[in-house]
Symmetry: C2
Subunit: 235 residues, 2 copies
Amino acid sequence: MSSSSAKPPMRDALVAAAFQLFLERGYEQTTVDDIVALAGVGRRSFFRYFPSKEDVVFPDHERCLADMTAFLAASDDGHEPVQRVCDAARLVLRMYAENPTFSVQRYRLTKKVPGLRAYELSVVWRYERALAEYLRGRFAGRRDGTLQADVIAAAVVAAHNNALRSWLRTDGQGDASDTVDHALGYVQSAFGAAPVPPAVPLTGEQPEDVVVIVSRRGAPLWRVVQEIESALGRD
Amino acid sequence: MSSSSAKPPMRDALVAAAFQLFLERGYEQTTVDDIVALAGVGRRSFFRYFPSKEDVVFPDHERCLADMTAFLAASDDGHEPVQRVCDAARLVLRMYAENPTFSVQRYRLTKKVPGLRAYELSVVWRYERALAEYLRGRFAGRRDGTLQADVIAAAVVAAHNNALRSWLRTDGQGDASDTVDHALGYVQSAFGAAPVPPAVPLTGEQPEDVVVIVSRRGAPLWRVVQEIESALGRD
DNA sequence: CCGCGGAACTGCACTGAGTGCCATATGCGC
DNA sequence: GCGCATATGGCACTCAGTGCAGTTCCGCGG
């Protein structure tokens, strides 16, 4: 809370002016000079707040990435790693959900402008790296630890983005959390691992190629899957 | 083979001149004027062959992406989808393996220059989209088909990149295929690969809060999950 | 009230990427 | 030779981004 708690109103004015122009005349048709003219400030000030023209479209991702890094750094061994990175991804969703209309406007922009899509990729990549680095640490001893970390981080980000986009396509109606929970649940069911009071796998006297698993109705899916995996003797 | 089989020597000369300068003085310290001066051509010609300065670093990705798209388009229902996208990813690896020293030089460049990393991301993203689009088509009827397509595509790309990078870090020694096969094997084991006879959900006379699912030992995990979901009556 | 130092802001000139337009060359069929 | 298409070169322009110097604003001690 030391570095960036004070809000410069100029920053917000620049963002507002920029989006107004982007929406009415397009991103590439708007020059930085146009933005600063509308905001009534000097051109040089723009680049003091935003290192590039693209940055004004993602004004809060720097802070969000810092939040995510802090969140992951505050983890301990009690946290299930996959669960933890899913929760970290939810931080990003929360940021989007805080300003639905702004997020939807930005979504429409990035969907149309290739340059902004490319920039968004580099932003998302930094989230993904943060998740992967955390997982690498947690999977340190494991065989193929870095491989698993990279793959799981990519899967979490992909699931998150899939859900986020489908929410954005609905103009921010409905509950974004539900969509994302469902998508992340799929990832957890694929890679799942979780510290949980167990469902009970019962392997009775069955024909050799079948396994019977009994689980609670209403139990979370990933938990059921975990039981299946161990009952099937997977690692 | 119609569009781009004839190779303009000028293109290759530009790439050679560019990399010579990039390696001896760095990417950002080299201007396009420097490159065209060394290659002995006009500045305007550079931008005829490469839409941007970054493109000269990835001269063959456009062709490779086209190859991948064609490869996926030539698929039929006999191909197991996950297997197929893994094979498509191997096409990219093959391109890298064709010129190990060039690939290693480029890797060192992209590792150091943020602008090139960002550009590489947008290249990789297009591969990922190609894989995801293919999977979306194959998963068309399936519940959460697009979600699964996006996640699996991301996982395949992440695994491929993980293996590719570790190979590049060894200066291109050893067999890249082995590394990538292993990495992709991990993804296939997580998302299942083989086409399998269906599992049979049996809901007998159980106490009300339990469900019994019988599945084949060795069935792919996603298949089991599907059975579970429908047996639990989820939507 | 005055001066003073620092921080925020502005203006200006400069580099370099990328584009549009037109001129020129080179090749080829006739 | 001519006409024509294509490849290339030259030039001027826009715009993003940077370095530098000047200015305004504000708090603070005298």
